[in-house]
């Protein structure tokens, strides 16, 4: 992994690397380098299999992390490329011409995170939701519980307990400890 990182470092400016396992590492890259890096990884390093493309919402530092996970079957290695983007009005360039299957991921990200991929096929079509008017549901500031209580009629008689309080009362009925 480390020597792969050094080899890539020779061509591209890279961020820090996190080695999760001996066959899995995550590298932070700039948005500008991503496309060239993906092509390099696919054509030269042999990371031909796009495992997944997803996003993580770091709302505290106002960033959206896109993760492109690539797999090299011959060496049984995975590399995840992290791209950090701003949270509002996020636009990313599409890679559906490198991996056609990416168009599906990009449709989902467009719907679930509100990340736009200009030029990706049918990126604006509904993916899972239909007639969604609220903020994209996978963003951290979307409260699903409040939404469901506001929109759907609930059958009363259902009680939900916070497990921590519940266990405390069961273990220490006198409220002590």
């Amino acid at each position: 992994m480390q020597n792969l990182f050094n080899r890539l470092k020779a061509h591209f400016p890279l961020g820090e690397i996190t080695e999760q396992r001996e066959n899995l590492a995550f590298i932070t890259v700039e948005r500008a380098q991503l496309r060239a890096l993906l092509l390099h990884m696919r054509d030269i390093e042999g990371y031909t299999h796009l495992v997944l493309l997803t996003a993580v919402d770091w709302i505290e530092d106002g960033q959206l992390q896109l993760t492109y996970l690539l797999n090299n079957r011959a060496e049984a290695r995975d590399v995840g490329l992290r791209v950090l983007l701003g949270r509002d009005g996020t636009v990313m360039d599409s890679i559906h011409d490198i991996w056609p299957t990416a168009e599906t991921y990009q449709r989902e990200l467009r719907e679930m995170f509100g990340i736009d991929f200009p030029g990706s096929p049918r990126v604006n079509d509904d993916f899972a939701l239909e007639g969604w008017v609220d903020i994209p549901p996978y963003r951290r500031d979307f409260d699903t519980l409040a939404f469901s209580e506001k929109n759907f009629t609930h059958r009363d008689g259902r009680e939900t307990r916070d497990p921590r309080q519940h266990m405390k009362q069961k273990l220490y009925p006198d409220g002590g400890a």
Partner: protein
């Protein structure tokens, strides 16, 4: 298409283009106007069909209805996976006069097998309205009763009987085939006793049901009456 700044969940979603009323030029050069929301559908609300015959005839018919339940093969959720064992050697539901029909026109029992996402609810409503009266609905699993373990999900409905009249609920996540068979037997009892008038109830409180449905389905892009 989606408006991300708009937090008011009750705003109407703009109608899709192919659903707008427009003028089409046919292959023979003949121009005609098309309104997709009005074509091929009846215009009036569903009518009530009260039992009209004398009691003994109705009882006989009810017995026949209860003994030949034709289920619409529409797997809306997890529960669909237990439908297959029902039709196969272990629990052979055919013995009890239960058959699967592929088209809603010929079915008279709609099984909501599990949670209903909003997107599926729209299809389920259409399927239900296309079925012929008398028709029955069975809710399968806890998620149709009160949301089950999806009580906080933003995309699944929590109470099925808000949107269509339910004759019978089967609790469990997911109910075992034995529970389904028992449920069928109970449904037969209900039908024989003449209490399964869900279709008439639906026609009676049509406005309330439609109101509930439109409250959840924000892009209502189908006619109100489709059968």
């Amino acid at each position: 298409m989606k408006d991300e700044t708009n937090n008011d969940a009750n705003t109407k979603v703009p109608m899709r283009d192919e659903l707008k009323k427009r003028v089409i030029k046919g292959p023979d050069g003949f121009e005609f106007e098309v309104d997709p929301l009005r074509d091929y559908y009846c215009e009036e609300a569903p009518k009530e069909h009260p039992p009209i015959y004398v009691k003994i005839v109705e009882d006989f018919f009810n017995w026949a209805r209860s003994e030949s339940l034709w289920i619409l093969g529409f797997g809306t959720g997890c529960g669909a996976i237990e439908m297959r064992p029902l039709m196969t050697p272990r629990f052979d539901a055919y013995r009890y006069g239960i058959q699967w029909r592929p088209t809603p026109r010929q079915a008279n029992l709609l099984i909501i097998s599990g949670y209903l996402s909003v997107k599926t609810l729209k299809r389920a409503i259409r399927a239900y309205e296309q079925m012929q009266s008398p028709k029955y609905v069975m809710g399968l699993g806890s998620c149709t009763i009160n949301g089950g373990m999806y009580f906080d999900s933003y995309n699944t409905i929590k109470r099925l009987d808000e949107y269509m009249p339910v004759d019978l609920y089967i609790a469990g996540c997911m109910p075992r085939p034995e529970a389904l068979l028992k449920g069928f037997e109970d449904l037969k009892k209900i039908i024989r006793s003449g209490k399964a008038e869900g279709a008439n109830h639906y026609a009676e409180h049509f406005e309330r049901y439609k109101e509930n449905q439109k409250k959840v389905i924000l892009d209502w892009d189908m006619p109100d009456y489709n059968w």
